[in-house]
Amino acid sequence: MSLPRTSTRFLFFTGKGGVGKTSLSCATGLALAESGRAVLIVSTDPASNLDEVLGVGLSQVPTAVPGASGLFALNIDPEAAAHGYRERMVAPYRGILPAAAIQSMEEQFSGACTVEIAAFDEFSKLLGDPSATAEFDHVIFDTAPTGHTLRLLTLPSAWDEFISSSTSGASCLGPLAGLEKQKALYAATVERLSSADETTVILVARADTASLREANRTRAELADLGIRNQTLVINGMFSDATSGDPIATAMAQRATEALTDMPAKLAGMPQTRIPFLPRGTVGLDALREMAHPETVASPTSHEMPETSLPPGLNGLVEKMASAGHGVIMTMGKGGVGKTTVAAAIAVALAGKGHPVVLSTTDPAAHIATTIDGAIPGLTVSRIDPAQEVRQYTEEVLAKASQQLDAAGRAMLEEDLRSPCTEEIAVFRAFARTVDEGKNGFVVLDTAPTGHTILLLDAAEAYHREVMRTQGDMPEAVRQLLPRLRDPSYTRVLIVTLPEATPVHEAERLSKDLARAGIEPYAWVINQSLLASGTTHPVLCQRGAYEVPFIRRVADQLSRECALIPWLAEAPVGRAGLEHLVARQPYVEAHLSAVR
């Protein structure tokens, strides 16, 4: 059996979106149930497709999974839970306080932290209260609370000072102000998480450098909190020694290289490798295959399915170039290739003679450095999130900390580690960069989320309304909001992969942007094996799996869509990036083409 060892009662799977947390949770749960245990699988990920994977409609109470005796699952939507808090807090005051007051109270409960804390509260009900899960031998969670949440909840000052009296701060825990009685429950939850007899945390990663780096970061963060019973799963390992297919050879080689260069502490952990399963992991049969990949029959077909594919990136670049200037932003979750796409577009625009600034937040900035100075008219600048956050943190602490005691300072420092601090810090750098799009092109691989944009919009509205002046809102920021909403100034490209979770997350991103009044200019589907020209049977099977996701993006989600094939040569340097733009989806060359 290829699944990780599972001796503890509680199992947490953690990792970035798209690495296969939900699939692994389900495969592990199914294997345990089929060995005679009673198992509950819990999802608190708003992007979860747990019901799809298990083939059953789920709710907030355990539901039996048909065809798998002893297996139960429940799905908690933390956004719905956050909404529940909001109602509990606000409803008693409707009709008593003015409508504007009710509205401003409601708005306070829509942030990312509220959702994160709400998710933790749901965890706690299951983990901190033994009676809630008494009838199950194992409880499996397809997500784990973040280090930020755990640190926040273990700070004594979070409870003692800031919740019982809000004289000096409210912080991310604000939404839980009415729930002080939860304190003991949360303490029990954190204790269970750090007990090696009760809990295993399974880090899930792909065999690629960025994914392994992320897993190592999580490992260190949880270990610092005393959660040391961790194991590593490398999911989707593709190996190919013999086929001679250039795509298959390159894929296998890149995976080997990433694993060789894996951080030492990660490499020293107990490790399980799960092979590449081309058909996805929806349904119980597919989950059984995940546990026993040796039983999977090798596919034999060397042909890709026929479907009309969106064109390559070239046409999109031509259109954007004709505007002569403006801001182009590539957006998407980590690992989908935002930086590569941004760099390729920047190179192509510079190649047409336009002045271009490429601004990246890529921590390694490898792609960016390979083209810096290589093309006349192209400048590369870097936004370093760590540095921006450090600067911002120092600035805040310098201004605020002398009035705070040790407990207050600890709280403020934890506030500064929240995900929204990074967004805000990066945002300030972002605002500076966007300003440069007046005269030439600015291509950015980072963008604020809809939530940040709404937050700043609210800030601006507040300044207008309350201050009756423009206050001290920086000019670049004030200009930014209208500019981001101006389709002739800013073009947002949503980058995704032709797979379930990335498409699902991209869809959520586009809805978030719609709330902020921004419509994406186009979608870019990256790394399509279907269009790569491979004839390796396993990869052809994978190509077939991509079809519905490509269709969903091309036919339903996007006005304009481009597709980039999986490339055997890594797209770096001027030539590599130019090739990425010029390359047409392979199938199009000899099958039917749309547009």
């Binding site: 807090m89 606000v90 008693p92 005051y93 008593i96 306080l97 003015p98 504007a100 007051a101 509205q103 401003s104 109270m105 708005e107 306070q108 409960f109 829509s110 942030g111 990312a112 932290c113 509220t114 809000s166 004289t167 000096s168 701060g169 409210a170 912080s171 991310c172 604000g174 102000a177 009415g178 911002y392 600035e395 805040v396 201004k399 605020a400 002398q402 009035q403 403020l412 506030d415 500064l416 929240s418 929204c420 601090t421 805000i424 945002f427 300030r428 937050l455 700043l456 609210a458 800030a459 507040y462 309304e465 309350v466 201050m467 206050g471 001290d472 809102m473 920086p474 920021v477």
Partner: protein
């Protein structure tokens, strides 16, 4: 003993961490409240997002709020509203509470409120 009450807008954090720029006024105001408390005044601070019952309990505050959220923050001394729509400076607080300022306690006069926007839900 005098009682000072502050009715804040619905803020996610009184530190100003989550705004576009760091806001010194909120941090300063918090420090000024500590200073006031050190002069024997009972200080209580209510956040609309978390303690709406305190607002409801004071009809004069509710009446002010009907004029718009711009009336917040509301400062009340012994139940009587003394200022609306701004955070008073230490100097102004001292005047309203009859606290004598020493030479070392120079007034910090600043106008405006924080970038940690009420209702922004930023954290």
């Amino acid at each position: 003993m005098k009682k000072l009450e502050v009715f804040d807008p619905a803020m996610c954090c009184s530190t100003g961490v989550c705004g576009v720029d760091v806001d010194p006024i909120l941090a300063q105001f918090a420090a000024d409240l500590k200073w006031v408390a050190g002069h024997g005044v009972t200080v209580t601070r209510y956040n609309l997002g978390q303690e709406p019952q305190a607002f409801v309990a004071n009809p004069a505050v509710v009446k002010e709020m009907e004029g718009g959220m711009g009336r917040l923050p509301i400062i009340a001394i012994d139940g009587h509203i003394v200022s609306t729509g701004m955070y008073p400076s230490r100097h102004q607080l001292a005047q309203k509470l009859n606290i004598a300022l020493t030479a070392a306690e120079k007034p910090h006069i600043r106008v405006g409120v924080g970038d940690c926007t009420p209702g922004s839900g930023c954290c």
